[in-house]
């Protein structure tokens, strides 16, 4: 009788321990799976209301709800998809501090730079996937200087984000115009040599 009761307690203890171990696994899997399953990432929020390759200024009443943003910046985003080839991203710079970054649809930041990288007042670069980069490198002439900056995007889809610092409230409209000047578009296919 005593023996049977002890055995029952052991079985229940085992059930609890197994539950806790399983809980650990479920927790880890849910954390790792969330970026893929979530419908609330910045990319999802933007593309829910804005087509690909179209720039939208964040923060307005009808803009995608991406928050929290720095209230002293003007932020514009443009969603890209590299399925049909590389994408070209371009933004002009002026006196106001401007930064440009890329974030994948898996919520991982890809790259970020500031207007110090601008050449003649323009930041221009080409987003490529790994196979597209390999292809472009194979096509490059060996002694030709490659003028374009290529950025490897680990994910096929993502957002280009242009931020302009609004130092003084009076600079807001100028800053919004500057960040809205962000352009992303499918890059024209390079003519094959020969």
């Amino acid at each position: 009788m005593q023996e049977a009761a002890t055995r029952e307690i052991k079985v229940w203890a085992l059930a609890v321990v197994a539950g806790v171990l399983l809980a650990g696994m479920i927790h880890i899997v849910s954390i790792l799976a969330m970026p893929g399953l979530s419908r609330a990432s910045a990319f999802q929020r933007v593309t829910a209301s804005t087509p690909l390759f179209q720039t939208v200024l964040l923060g307005g009443a009808r803009a995608p709800a991406v928050s929290p943003l720095d209230p002293a910046t003007a932020v514009a985003v443009c969603a890209y998809d590299l399925a049909n080839g590389p994408a070209r991203v371009r933004v002009e710079t002026r006196d106001q501090l401007l930064t440009l970054s890329f974030i994948g649809d898996d919520s991982r930041v890809i790259y970020g730079l500031t207007d110090r990288a601008a050449q003649k007042g323009v930041i221009e670069l080409v987003l490529v996937t790994r196979p597209q980069l390999d292809e472009a490198l194979a096509l490059d002439e060996e002694d030709e200087v490659q003028g374009e900056l290529r950025v490897l995007s680990p994910t096929r889809r993502g957002l280009a984000v242009a931020r302009v610092l609004v130092g003084l409230p009076s600079e807001r409209s100028e800053a919004e115009a500057l960040s809205s000047g962000l352009r992303c578009s499918p890059a024209a296919a390079k003519a094959a040599p020969g």
Partner: protein, 194 residues
Amino acid sequence: MKPYRLLQLLSTLAIAWGLGLGATWWLLGRAGGFGHVEVGPWAIQPRIGSADIDPYARAALSRTGALPLASGEGVTILAGSDSAGAALTGRCEYRIEGIAPTARGWTLSTQEAEEPPSTDARPRAAVTSSETLRDQDARLAIAVGRTARPGNWLPLRGEGEFTLVLRLYDTPISALNAAVLAQDLPRIERVGCP
């Protein structure tokens, strides 16, 4: 077959799902997240703007839809308490003192836990490097509170708890070196709670 074997199995599964998903929900609700560096009252997530972001921060981003600053753009630094360790609350007045952070541009704003529903535009949602007055030694002092102050003043709207958000743009400061940061970050002093 004992009649309660099924009950034991169900208990195991209930513990597993409840604890596992509960831990996920609880951990993602926490503001600081894992792997953050603390310098006095300030906290930074050094890897949030890079590809090696930790899985918890990434899962949180995929749910909030926030756009973190890329490492090449700048750093976001948060404080939920004053330099004495007490939680920041809208019932008190604060004074932020120190040298201006080493950055081409910076902004200081607040995130209030309960923003009172108001259609009025906030008098000022952020204080920026361009508009801040400094004394002769380039030291800066910013008042934070509900009562208007002369000089640099960051207004609060609610009486609840809030977080201070300091964003440094185009900065040589790396969140990976806490010693460098400690010299650069201002102190948060509680002036009083009227």
